[in-house]
């Protein structure tokens, strides 16, 4: 308490230098928390969207199906296991091509039940009054590459169960907007029953999106991929982005640390008579070391308080309005919403504060150690070089 009071008074009397170092620390703290908060917000959004549009609570894949190998699509289907209803949504994948404006474009057809509410794909729109046309829904990116609008029709060519080509008109019944490019690019979504009619694969699916993760235990022959595994690439992408935050954070913290170190070295040299006095008054050298360490470290408390004064209102505002990253995100084909709502977790804030205080304590302590070897008689005379 005594040391703390003295430390604060000493710091305040040091003036500009103190505030400059504290401001740099505050800036480091703010940038770290804001940057990481936005990334955390993105992470949350991307995961939520991926779950809602793609992964559900995990997948089980039919034994021959591998989504990363297009050659497996042809044979990658199997009869939907018993008891899947209510536990999972079946998706049947087939390769096909469309001819918007007469140009061939290879796509995948993904059939799923009209009445499902696990995935956000607007399956309720799989309807049309027109006879002989197949209603499909597509995402905005697909609509753009194929230059299709709601109500447009185009020719679809696919192989039926005999392996021979068949063709029909598809009607774009709806265009949805999603942050998940994997649910959008190159995909025509349609009613699985319709796809059964077209392919003769009634009752079969390429993979099941689980609404109940535990269901996979009933079907050991299908390949279970947990939600966590499916989300790993997203986590990795966000983690890669956070490197930038760390770099800026450590550069700024490093600058502040240098300033603190420098201030400490100088003040220990300049205040040796004071140090001698403390010892004459009955402090041990260790206590004086501790006092100077606390003094340097207190600077980081100023920094943190400063950061809180600026950062809390700013953070609250940012949390409510979100961070708008503008249009380009859609073209980047990564799972990122246009507006991201930052998430400021306790561990992020606490971790940042602990690192800042810890580094400050270290660079305050290192020069202060010198005091432990000072001769008090020389210090009192101010004769230590």
């Amino acid at each position: 308490m005594l040391r703390f009071r003295l430390a604060i008074k000493n710091l305040l009397s040091a003036g500009t230098r103190t505030w400059l170092s504290a401001s740099i620390l505050a800036l480091a703290c703010l940038i770290m928390v804001m940057y990481m908060g936005v990334l955390q917000g993105w992470n949350t959004q991307a995961k939520t969207d991926a779950i809602n549009w793609q992964f559900g609570q995990g997948e089980i894949r039919s034994p021959k199906y591998d989504p990363y190998d297009p050659f497996t699509i042809d044979d990658g289907h199997a009869v939907i296991p018993a008891g899947a209803e209510g536990e999972a949504v079946p998706i049947l994948v087939r390769q096909a091509s469309i001819y918007p404006q007469g140009r061939l474009q290879n796509i995948t057809l993904q059939g799923l039940p009209k009445h499902q509410n696990l995935l956000s794909i607007p399956t309720g729109k799989f309807t049309t009054e027109k006879e002989g046309v197949i209603p499909v829904v597509i995402g905005k990116r697909m609509a753009k590459t194929a230059n299709l609008k709601v109500g447009d029709m185009t020719t679809l060519r696919w192989r039926d169960k005999g392996g021979t080509f068949d063709a029909a008109q598809v009607l774009v019944a709806d265009i949805f907007r999603t942050n998940v490019p994997e649910a959008d690019m190159g995909i025509l979504w349609l009613d699985i029953d319709k796809l059964y009619e077209m392919t003769g694969l009634r009752g079969e699916a390429s993979y099941l999106v689980l609404s109940n993760a535990g269901y996979h235990k009933n079907v050991p022959s299908w390949n279970y991929i947990s939600k966590e595994t499916l989300l790993e690439p997203l986590e990795a992408m966000v983690a890669a982005e956070s490197i930038g935050a760390y770099v800026i954070f450590f550069i700024l913290t490093g600058l502040a640390a240098l300033a603190i170190f420098d201030t400490q070295v100088l003040s220990i040299f300049r205040r040796q008579k004071e140090i001698g006095t403390f010892i004459a008054l009955g402090m041990t050298r260790k206590q004086v070391v501790r006092m100077f360490t606390i003094e340097g470290t207190s600077l980081s408390f100023f920094g943190v308080i400063l950061a809180a004064i600026v950062g809390i209102p700013f953070g609250v505002w940012l949390k409510s309005t979100g961070v708008s990253l503008g249009k380009p995100t859609e073209a980047m084909n990564i799972n990122m919403a246009q507006t991201i709502y930052p998430v400021f977790g306790t561990s992020l804030i606490l971790g940042t504060v602990i690192i800042i205080v810890g580094i400050s304590a270290l660079v305050s302590y290192l020069p202060a150690r010198k005091i432990a070897h000072m001769e008090p008689t020389l210090a009192l005379k101010g004769k230590i070089q």
């Binding site: 005594l2 003295l6 008074k9 000493n10 305040l12 009397s13 008579k273 004071e274 001698g276 006095t277 010892i279 004459a280 008054l281 009955g282 402090m283 041990t284 050298r285 260790k286 206590q287 001769e375 008090p376 008689t377 009192l380």
Partner: protein, 238 residues
């Protein structure tokens, strides 16, 4: 009267270049409780060195310095800090006040080190400031004080913990005549009222006339040890 400081065959050598410089040579001295004594001698005669040893800021190279029953050479850092904290007060030529603290806080500091409770602390600080006549300046910072006032704060800081021994190294060197007399009167009064042992280092005539005993040092040796009471009377000349 009991002995409070006992110096036996003390030698102090400082390393200088390749060799040594002998600052104190075979010193034998005793001080009794309540003495008002001074070390007098030319510059470099070893006055400060001896005071530092008595105050446990330094240790003798040879010999024994026993202060309040404790052998200075055998104390740990903690023990010597405790000795200074509780039993020895220092007053320096340059005052050495803590610049960021107010007068009150400077005086309070020693008591905070002793973990003394707030109420008791306040009482002791105000009493010490009263002794030196500075209660009205208690909220001032050292840089707003005159030299005389600063030295009185230093006296209050040294005396507030009621140490058995008060060591004053050239306390009047930066003071004018009037302030030098003032500070000496204050200390003489404390010596009489609290029975604190005072040891000065000085070459100031104004200080010397208050002393009951003068130990003359020259080149690190005791040249003469004279009792002054006969010369100046019991309470010194004023």
């Amino acid at each position: 009267m009991e002995e409070i400081i006992s110096i036996k065959n003390v030698v102090k050598r400082f390393p200088v270049g390749d060799g040594f410089f002998t600052a104190l040579q075979d010193i034998n001295l005793e001080f009794k409780k309540g003495e008002f004594a001074g070390l007098v001698g030319p510059s470099g005669s070893g006055k400060t060195t001896l005071l530092n040893i008595i105050g446990s800021l330094d240790t003798p190279t040879e010999g024994e310095a026993i202060v309040i029953g404790k052998d200075i050479s055998k104390l740990s850092h903690q023990q010597s800090a405790d000795l200074r904290n509780h039993n020895v007060g220092f007053i320096f030529q340059e005052y050495h006040l803590l610049p960021v603290y107010t007068v009150y806080e400077n005086v309070e500091f020693a008591l905070l080190l002793q973990n003394i409770g707030a109420a008791e602390r306040k009482k002791a600080v105000m009493e010490a400031l009263d002794w030196v006549g500075l209660t009205h300046k208690k909220d001032s910072k050292p840089d707003k004080l005159s030299g005389g006032e600063s030295q009185r704060v230093a006296v209050a800081r040294a005396i507030v913990k009621r140490p058995a021994i008060l060591l004053a190294d050239e306390p009047s060197a930066n003071l004018d005549a009037e302030n030098a007399h003032n500070i000496m009167k204050v200390m003489k009064k404390l010596n009489e009222e609290l029975d604190t042992t005072f040891i000065f280092s000085t070459h100031d005539e104004k200080v010397m006339q208050y002393l009951d005993r003068i130990v003359h040092l020259k080149d690190g040796r005791i040249e003469k040890d004279e009792m002054m009471k006969a010369k100046y009377g019991v309470h010194g000349a004023h």
